[in-house]
């Protein structure tokens, strides 16, 4: 009798556990707590340990170093050089990870979402999928991630991501450090919480690109705000750059077109002359 009651109670316990397993709750405790709002700790340069521009010492090939120098010269003259974002196209990968605007990370079992203003959502697939055979290139690319339990305590510590399938134009930062126009960029990331400070998130980013002589690794740091206020930043709302053909002009405060560079000719208005005939 005693044995029967034991068997019954074990069966009951098993039923309860089975019901729980079938319910498939998402056990958040297996994943790191990366909730809240993450803000960059440095400026908007690519390698946060160095100043923007030449001081970055980007390992560019001679061809792309020349492209970068031409970009710097154009920017010095009032142009935008290789920085395409003045037109309000997104920064794309890897530049978005500078996080000019704050970041939110939403972890679900199959996908981790990296959200930031003026970017479409970044989806990092962690469901074990392989690279799709065909996909349309995007500024953010296609990201596959893997959760890592470094210390084998049953809880993931790090998220490793590989991103491919990007399109351009993209640059590393506002100075116009270029990526190769073949868009064969591969970006590898390792997100991990700082060991001493849970409110500091590290992202070790390695960029492999044909504009570079070797993989270029930088570490970004983001600081957490637990009670965030989310602002919406809309580049197009008050963009004073005007692109006409291959030229960039400016809008004056009083709403007139003005040159962005010294002695820049005005736009060709041939279609207005035709329409007046």
């Amino acid at each position: 009798m005693r044995q029967q009651s034991s068997l019954g109670s074990i069966a009951l316990a098993a039923c309860l556990l089975t019901a729980s397993a079938a319910a498939q709750p998402f056990d958040e405790s297996k994943y790191p707590d990366w909730s809240g709002q993450w803000r960059r700790t440095g400026g908007i340069q690519w390698d946060p340990t160095k100043r923007l521009g030449r001081a970055q010492e980007a390992p560019l090939t001679p061809e792309y170093q020349a492209v970068f120098e031409a970009s710097l010269a154009d920017q010095a003259a009032g142009g935008q050089g290789n920085d395409p974002t003045y037109k309000c196209i997104p920064a794309g990968m890897p530049r978005i990870m500078t996080m000019v605007f704050p970041m939110e990370i939403v972890i679900t079992p199959k996908t981790t979402y990296i959200l930031s203003d003026y970017s479409t959502p970044r989806r990092v697939y962690t469901d074990g999928r392989d690279w799709p055979r065909e996909f349309e290139p995007t500024f953010l690319g296609y990201s596959i991630g893997k959760w890592i339990d470094d210390d084998r305590d049953g809880r993931y510590d790090a998220l490793e991501i590989e991103t491919r399938g990007m399109k351009g134009p993209r640059s590393f930062e506002a100075s116009g450090i270029p990526l190769h126009k073949d868009n064969q960029t591969v970006v590898k990331e390792r997100f991990i919480s700082d060991g001493a400070n849970r409110d500091l998130l590290l992202n070790e980013i390695t960029t492999i690109d044909n504009a570079l002589t070797r993989p270029w690794t930088v570490t970004k740091k983001y600081r957490r705000d637990h009670n965030p206020i989310w602002h919406q930043n809309d580049c197009s709302e008050d963009n004073h750059h005007v692109s006409i053909g291959n030229e960039n002009y400016f809008l004056s405060a009083d709403g007139h077109l003005m040159p962005a560079k010294k002695d820049q000719p005005p736009p060709d208005l041939r279609y207005f002359k035709q329409s007046r005939k």
Partner: protein
Amino acid sequence: MRSLIGAIALAGMMLTASDARAFDETKYPDWSGQWRRPPGVGNQWDTSSPPRKAQAPLTAEYRAIYEANLADQAAGGQGTDPTYICIPDGMPRAMNVIFPMEIIIQPHVTHMLIEYLSMVRRIFTDGRDWPENTEPSFMGYSIGKWIDTGGRGRFDVLEVETRNLKGPRSFDASGLPLHVDNQTIVKERIYLDNADPNILRDEVTTIDNALTRPWTVIKNYHRVRKPVWVEAICAEGNQHVRIGKENYMLSADGYLMPAKKGQAPPDLRYFEQARK
């Protein structure tokens, strides 16, 4: 008896341990996948009416604004549709879901991600009150509440209220206007169709001073279970050029051209000054 109590306690402990910070997805509806406008449905606000034929309950003042807008659009202008310069649709227009939408449900917040720059909605379901002194935005501030209408221990409806919006916004590309005071309140009731779990419905009621009464429309979205996500970047190929208060177009060969018949070219006074 002791062993029964022990076993129940053991099971309880195991459940408790596994439930530490566990998010019980089974309490919430399955709204995963990609949600798209139904095939053949345009991006007009009231999908029960053809584009530009909506019976919008506009005030006389805003009816006149709408008519002037239609005349401007007929002449090649953009009227009161502000999105040609690539600003977000804002609420409630974002729920036209011109590009596909994903919904991520978490206990404290439900995210609605629409494939367009800056079109992320955060719907807070943590019981918070309206914040004081927050900056208005195109998508507004949304507070939601999950409802278990059947009393089955599972939520099936998300009720949302959105306030604190900024403009310019319109209901759709026809330029159906919202009031410039931006006091819009949007109330939504979102649920799966009873007969088809691959159809999501959103009853959207807009309360706005451009309207004579609250205006309710029902949006339907169809689910794609294995989605492909494609970026929609408005600014990437935008042929509209706004200079001052005028909208021009870019020709295929990269020249500025008029958007309207007889439109004057832009004032180039600063180029003349630069040449002096």
